[in-house]
């Protein structure tokens, strides 16, 4: 029986220890928890700085930042236990799934009450979070894909400027491969290759969420990408022993990559030499200039414990002032028209404003399409002797099969 009392003692001790810090907080201060994802330590520290400016303006609210590894899964667990964070990042691609589950708080009442001006937001960034008259999140920023080049590696192959067209890219690729340099690192992911669907005149989904993948133009874009994987002009991060394309680019394993502004702080941190040698431009044009833009929102859960304070936080972070602070770190560009694009990110701003930059689709079941596309794409390119046309057809067929019916 001694053991039981030891066990109980241990338990009591642990409870006492873990209770202690939280009971220190002063009475008038409310602590809200904000859960996010982070692609690099420096992105997280940028967010911490932005949050600090919020806290200094709102001394009665303290923010506890949580960086999730698998944000979607961890949020789902919290929703199921009715303990969502007060505020959390809401990915555009999953917003409609969560909204359909009834776990998100409609922000419209708070927006109306606070006379918060929605017209400053780009409409296509709001759309993923809208459902009828309800709005489940306010876009915190935006991020289009641009072309990044490593001037050191480009110079080694006698290249001075970024390729402006797919034809120029092909010429560059030839020169680079002659020097044993991998031209471009890009994952076989619909969230990257989709940009070429657009560049070739196609797209991903219509405004009514019907698939555009099978159109001849989208197919042409994918076939072009596949032929690049075949020739070695494209390589996936895995093929270059990297966790993601930014890492391969940072390790100077490729001359080009196509990422958003999140690449910058990561490079600045981990690979300063490559950061200094980096230039940016729009993705190579085919029929037209095309790109994909990503957005994510701040949202509140239906069961979030402090919705009032949570809204205060969102109002600040997605307002002109908060967004100016946050985007000044160059992690993303503003989603508001009244916040100027920070110096050094003009290219991203220009690309974002292009008529042919589309935001990634956001409807219930889009995640399945992404999974089916990416799995099939990786399978198709793993065999060196694949046929680009057949591979493209198989990938599109797999994605179409996963497209939600109706």
């Amino acid at each position: 029986m001694k053991k039981i009392s030891i066990g109980a003692g241990l338990l009591a001790l642990a409870l006492a220890i873990s209770v202690a810090p939280s009971s220190v907080a002063a009475d008038a201060v409310t602590t809200i928890s904000v859960s996010t994802w982070g692609s690099s330590p420096s992105e997280t520290s940028a967010l911490k700085d932005a949050v600090a400016t919020f806290e200094s303006r709102n001394p009665t609210i303290k923010v506890n930042l949580i960086v999730d590894n698998d944000h979607g899964a961890q949020m789902a667990a919290r929703f199921a236990s009715k303990t969502p964070n007060d505020v959390f990042y809401l990915d555009a691609g999953i917003a409609q799934d969560w909204a359909a589950q009834g776990v998100l708080l409609d922000l419209m009442p708070a927006i109306t009450a606070a006379k918060f001006n929605l017209t400053k937001f780009n409409a296509s960034y709001l759309k993923p979070f809208q459902s009828g008259t309800k709005l489940f999140g306010l876009p915190k920023d935006a991020n289009p894909l641009v072309l990044e080049g490593n001037t050191t590696l480009m110079a080694a192959a006698g290249i001075k400027t970024l390729p402006k067209t797919t034809a120029e890219f092909a010429a560059h690729a030839k020169k680079l491969m002659a020097q044993n340099i991998t031209p471009m690192c890009v994952d076989a992911d619909i969230n990257r290759l989709g940009a070429y669907f657009v560049a070739f005149g196609g797209g991903l989904a219509s405004s009514t969420n019907k698939s555009l993948l099978s159109s001849a133009t989208s197919k042409a874009g994918l076939e072009w990408a596949m032929s690049n994987y075949k020739s070695g002009a494209f390589k996936t991060p895995a093929q270059l022993s990297a966790g993601w394309a930014g890492e391969a680019f940072g390790k100077a394993k490729c001359a080009y990559t196509m990422e958003g502004a999140w690449l910058d702080p990561y490079l600045k941190d981990s690979f300063p030499d490559v950061y200094d040698a980096m230039i940016k431009g729009p993705l190579p044009k085919a029929k037209q200039a095309g790109s994909l833009a990503f957005t994510a929102a701040y949202a509140i859960g239906k069961d979030s414990p402090n919705p009032k304070e949570a809204w205060t936080f969102i109002e600040y972070m997605t307002g002109a002032r908060g967004m100016t602070v946050w985007t000044s770190y160059g992690v993303a560009i503003p989603s508001r028209s009244d916040v100027s694009i920070p110096l050094g990110y003009e290219v991203n701003g220009v690309v974002a404003k292009l008529a042919t930059t589309i935001t990634t689709p956001a409807f219930k079941g889009w995640g399945d399409v992404v999974g089916a596309f990416n799995n099939e794409a990786k399978k198709q390119i793993q065999d060196k002797n694949f046929n680009a046309k057949k591979a493209a057809a198989a990938i599109i067929a797999a994605a179409e099969a996963a497209w939600p019916k109706g």
Binding site: G72, A77, Q239, N375, K378, Q382, K384
Partner: protein
């Protein structure tokens, strides 16, 4: 007079034995009934519902089961899990037995080798899989070794991308786990070997049996309890493959769902799609598979092994 006193003493002793017996098992049994048996039936109950993040919405009968058995990704997950189990269990058992025989002989440093062989079994799967991913990267140590032995990795069919090629990913994980688990299996065999009377073997050798004959006709049958234990626990463990799959292939079991296992599929149904009823149905199917395989093994090894009798 005397005998009746003795009788009552026995009775009270029996009574107190019953009382203490129930007392001792009360909390453990309550926990079993609550945490395993009750939960088991609750799982079956949930599996008949359309059950989302905010709770059950409607009873759908067996729809969740029908849906699972017609989902190609789930069928692939079953195939992967079975393929994995059917390959990894024999390999790790054979390797474990082989290692046990190696270190069981009275040789110098057998203690060191025993520890060395068991070493991979003690680290957490998260640690060891992470290490494995690092070693198996296209420009990692493994390919470096191949190159040293004159194998040009870039000419291999998968260009040395062992874990990111759907044709080699599952086999790489099989290799990994056969290696890590064989240490544990070795211990099971060692324990059994040490209880096997060496006089049987010596007698056989005096009778002119060859070493091979001794192994197949004397040692192997005497190791039946260990065989049963190793195969049963190995199979149950193998069908629950999760850690290595999610670490190496992510939640989709990429590439091409080659690392999608039944358990990973349950995880996705729960925490990506929030379909708790559906996830429960998959759990029940997993149980049925494990249960039938265990019963099957019981028949193969005979029921005496079940009770651990030699």
């Amino acid at each position: 007079m005397q005998s009746s006193k003795k009788h009552s003493y026995r009775l009270s002793r029996k009574k107190s034995e019953i009382l203490v017996g129930y007392g001792f098992i009360s909390i453990p049994m309550a926990l079993f009934l609550f945490l395993s048996v009750g939960i088991f039936f609750y799982a079956i109950y949930i599996s008949t519902y359309d059950w989302g993040l905010i709770g059950p919405t409607e009873n759908v009968g067996l729809d969740n089961y029908r849906r699972a058995l017609s989902d190609p990704i789930f069928l692939k997950a079953i195939r992967n899990s079975l393929k994995y189990a059917l390959l990894v269990v024999p390999i790790q058992s054979a390797l474990g037995l082989f290692l046990a025989l190696l270190v069981n002989s009275k040789i110098k440093g057998s203690k060191f080798f025993r520890s060395a062989f068991y070493f991979p079994s003690i680290a957490s799967s998260a640690a060891i899989t992470t290490l494995f991913i690092f070693l198996m990267a296209p420009d990692g140590v493994f390919n470096g070794m191949l190159k040293f032995f004159g194998v040009d990795v870039s000419n291999l069919f998968n260009q040395g991308a062992w874990l990111s090629d759907s044709r080699t990913a599952l086999y790489s994980i099989i290799g990994l786990n056969a290696w890590t688990t064989s240490g544990t299996m070795m211990l099971f065999y060692l324990a059994n070997l040490q209880t096997v009377d060496s006089q049987y073997r010596e007698a056989a050798i005096t009778d002119g049996a060859s070493r091979r004959q001794v192994f197949w006709y004397i040692t192997m049958p005497l190791l039946k309890p260990a065989h049963f234990f190793v195969v049963t626990t190995g199979m149950i463990g193998a069908l629950q493959l999760y850690d290595q799959a999610i670490l190496a292939g992510g939640a989709d079991g990429s590439p091409d769902y080659s690392l999608m296992t039944m358990v990973l599929y349950i995880y996705n149904a729960c925490f990506r799609k929030f379909e708790f009823g559906y996830a429960s149905a998959i759990g029940v199917i997993l149980f049925v598979i494990i249960f039938s395989l265990t019963i099957l093994q019981k028949f193969i090894f005979g029921s005496s092994a079940w009770r651990g009798e030699n």
